[in-house]
Assembly symmetry: C2
Homo-oligomer: 394 residues x 2
């Protein structure tokens, strides 16, 4: 950890004991989060605080509910075994909601990001905003009930939607959902939840999820490509999700010249496609047929990938990322896409990044929503000092 | 200024008097840099330090050469007027060198970025690496001589080149200069200079310059487009110049689909172009003819701009910047380009940023090189504490 101090403040205010104790409490919580349960002695070593001082602060954090005691298992042979303490990840919870064209997926997790409950409810692609919001409410309710929590026990919510999200939390520039451009999902949820509520673009959230728990855990410079009947992108540069000045970063797909708008039509128009298969299932049929050696299907997949590669090359040449993650529904067929995509990028790009398939599948957007909600909680937790755990007000 | 402290360190080490004095010296230098000369009382107020403590540190900084005394002008009517102190920007100097196809431009500046000397020497586009490096040396020598400085008084150097710069400081992926891919300009200059030497891409440096002194001073999210017989881009996101994972960010122009590779050919192939005009002067002729109403020339400029807009739209849709800066040689004809470019972007982009012409012209790359060299100096100055001014060793 680096030390950055404002010298003037230090010299003129001196040591403020209350503030100091708060900062020391924070450093103990930091030292425990994401680590196995630890003894007071271990925590003192890890934080550089004195052992007696650490003990006092740890007991205070236990009383406030931030830490829980892990009783020794009695297997120690010499003397009294030491108690261990763990961060009480259950002190608070967050919600992530993926509002898609065909489904709403809600997930509820504790402060460690461990998922406590999940609800996936179908919704029609033509559902009007009120109907879609009713499904959002139902999915959220299912999650809360399954976890035995009430709305006022949720500390942060993120809602994922398709299309660029403006400063007000609306998708006014573009959305494929009927009537949805004027909907403010945060405002809708704020009627029942008093915690901070964010709305974010689905591709951006999926990118966050891949860096958190998926295929890009080792990377700071990531181009995430959501490949499906719609193609989109989420960009992480220098470890930070990039929204753009007006929330519209990653929308390269809107440019006709890079062919993402028309790429999926190669699959829909595959010559060997049997009659009667609807748009939603055509792509899956073509990928399966290609895997079985169907010649027209293989051609369709090759043409799709060639067009997918143009927009991907535009992103790679612009940003020079460490890794490209192929996600979205079509990433289930990454075995048919990745090699050809890599060859196309090698042909067109100056420096070719690693290309990997998503490992999170259909849950990536909701998981990314959980991650963004946890980021919100962390910013409050580590930015303001620790009081007794309680849901923050928006 | 925000306060970030490592609590453990604070508590266990307590107040380290020497380090504290050093940090206080830094905060006084910070308070003076870029500000008008100030009295000890003003500095004490600005830094939050005590007046006697400030006085002691200021006298130390004057003795070390970091500050100079500005004697009062005697116009005060009551009592003895107070001395003022200014940051001694002349304590060190930096060099910025733009190595182009047709010229080498070297600039030398003090620690405030005030240019002390400039040298612009021609070089043939077909010059081999040894010949080009000899011109670099000559331009640098002219700058040093004009400023009355020796190589060991230079604190940092940045060299700007065309093409993506890899970690070794070479343009191995691509360079239009004959034989230049294997040249390491930093290594060449290190034979005479012991300070840190960086090599950076010309478009990236021009972007830095526009944010420092040019058309993008108010922006943190900037797409800089270098428009000339070659088209390139430099990207600043969240206030930071983005290099990409391998130094190849901004190279969207390499993608045939976005038309930057062929855009200038509309100017070279203009039907009304008189015979005998060489490539280097064709574009200027066409822009002038278009300005005078020549129909074929106006068509050529319109076609050029339409193609320029495709790659620019790819950058805008990817990054959603606050502002696009049109720079490079063709920005002298921004009056013919900007409106049409804005219309094309409005047609293709979801959110259209402001579009502005560069105000720095042909000096933008060298100025950006100065800025990057100053950043290097600042990182050392504010990262390590102040000793007596001296050129750092690389």
């Amino acid at each position: 950890m680096t030390e950055q101090v404002t010298t003037g403040t230090l010299v003129t205010t001196g040591t403020d004991v209350t503030r100091m104790r708060e900062l020391n409490a924070l450093s103990i919580v930091r030292a425990l989060r994401g680590n196995p349960p630890s003894t007071v002695t271990e925590l003192a070593t890890r934080t550089g605080l004195s052992r007696p001082g650490t003990d006092v602060i740890v007991q205070g954090l236990v009383a406030d509910g931030w830490l829980t005691v892990v009783e020794p298992d009695g297997s120690s042979v010499v003397g009294r075994p030491a108690r261990r303490y763990r961060f009480n990840a259950g002190a608070g919870h967050v919600l992530g909601v993926d509002v898609g064209a065909h489904k709403v997926l809600a997930m509820l997790a504790d402060l460690d990001g461990t998922v406590a409950s999940t609800s996936r409810l179908p919704v029609g692609p033509d559902a009007d905003p009120a109907a879609r919001l009713a499904v959002v409410d139902a999915a959220v309710d299912e999650c809360l009930t399954a976890a035995g929590l009430s709305p006022d026990e949720i500390w942060a919510i993120t809602v994922g939607v398709t299309g660029p999200v403006d400063a007000s939390g609306r998708t006014t520039l573009f959305t494929p959902l009927p009537g949805w451009a004027s909907v403010n999902p945060a405002e809708h949820l704020a009627a029942r939840f008093s915690c901070p509520i964010q709305v974010e673009n689905d591709c951006k959230l999926a990118a966050l999820a891949e860096r958190w728990q998926g295929a890009a855990r080792d990377a700071d410079d990531i181009v995430y490509v959501l490949a499906g009947m719609r193609t989109g992108a989420g960009l992480i540069i220098d470890g930070t999700l990039r929204r753009g000045y007006g929330g519209a970063a990653g929308e390269i797909g809107a440019l006709r010249a890079v062919r993402w708008l028309t790429a999926p039509s190669h699959l829909e128009n595959c010559a060997s496609l049997p009659p009667g298969i609807d748009t939603d299932n055509a792509a899956a049929w073509v990928f399966n047929a290609a895997r079985s050696g169907d010649k027209a299907a293989r051609t369709a997949v090759r043409r799709y990938t060639r067009d997918l590669a143009v927009g991907t090359a535009a992103l790679v040449l612009t940003l020079d990322p460490q890794v490209v993650i192929l996600g979205g529904g079509f990433s289930r067929s990454a075995d048919l896409i990745l090699d050809h995509l890599a060859r196309e990028l090698a042909r067109t790009c100056l420096r070719v990044p690693e290309i990997r398939a998503s490992t999170l599948g259909a849950e990536s957007v909701a998981l990314g929503a959980l991650r963004l909600a946890l980021n919100e909680v962390d910013a409050r937790l580590f930015g303001m000092g620790l009081s007794t755990p309680a849901a923050p007000r928006a």
